[in-house]
Amino acid sequence: MPFARESWQIGPMETNDWATPTFGADLAQRGYALNKMCYSFNHAENRAAFVHDEDAYCARFGLTETQRLAVKHRNVIEMLQAGGNVYYLAKLAGILGLNVQDIGAQQTGMSVEAFKSKLVSAGK
């Protein structure tokens, strides 16, 4: 018998909306290892350990191959697709020296300056 997905669950990956992803049952389960690693970055010694040996640190948390590649690519949309939650990913972004305008620009395919201009123009 095929797996019956409950109606309240977020749909499978291919039907999720990467314009505005909903971090619910599907993504929360898929992303657990990635998010757990990012949560560990609340501690400075863990951030240092990641910087010192990224492969070993990712392996310690059991990231999937997709998650490992998303981190390697520094690609936020790929991390979201791998189940990353933006609040935890922000801690990784901090290590990488990216603020929320930088990741906004990356996700929307804009320059950082253009992204900032868009924010300012929202107030006009």
């Binding site: 990467w18 619910g24 949560y39 939650n85 290590i95 300012v120």
Partner: protein, 294 residues
Amino acid sequence: MARIVGAITTSHVPAIGNAIARGLQRDAYWKPFFDGFAGVHRWLEEMRPDVAVIFYNDHGLNFFLDKMPTFAVGAADEYRYADEGWGIPAMFAPFPGQTRLSWHLIESLVRDEFDVTTCQEMQVDHAFAVPMALLWPGTASWPVKTVPIAINTVQHPLPSAARCFKLGCAVGRAIESFPQDLNVVVLGTGGLSHQLEGTRAGFINKEFDLMCMDKLVSDPAALTRYSNAQLVELAGSQGVELLMWVAARGALTGRVSSVHSNYHIPISNTAAGLMVMENQSSGVRSRAAGAETV
């Protein structure tokens, strides 16, 4: 008996904490935001609250996905800000708790069928600390004791706006039945419209925010009719933090006046909102205003 003097709702963007740490309040980018707090400071000086009950959302400091409470109430003598991973300096003095009021709230809420998680240890993140620093800037020790109430906005399903409003009503009833003469201010932090993730990152909706600020005072029941999916669509995936504003408004009696407000775009990726709502009647909780009927 304890008395609710009013509610203050404000954005809590982490960048504000960095601006405070770097003394940028008069910088051209920040001035329109920080200047909005002068009226709040005057009001607080007049009201002199003893306690702040703070609705906020944890962003992955105290809670992880291993255990994610929908509603959590602090019951500690002290709450500390800690490293969130990306660098607001640890500049906040520890926040004193009010454990007697915490436990009174917990007992009253569970009796009211809000089965909250009780936290005798609780770290508080920027969503708690930044608003405190905005309301009482430059103080070596906080002039109020605090009760944190965390609402899950990390992992869906989130509690609905209607449910958060009812939680606020129950918190309001609990505060007003606390048998000690205390002046209590209720805070709701977060919002307004913003979205950090996805290809719609940077989404801001000024028209919706201004409508929410208006309705929050005059007709909060109107806001409780939105589903969270609608709030995400209209206010952005983090704009759903409006839930904390709705909860704070629920704690007021229904006879409420707006004594101060400010709105400024952008602070970081966010439309920053600020409101002070005074509780005009003390003691008499207006059921006719719709507080219990949504």
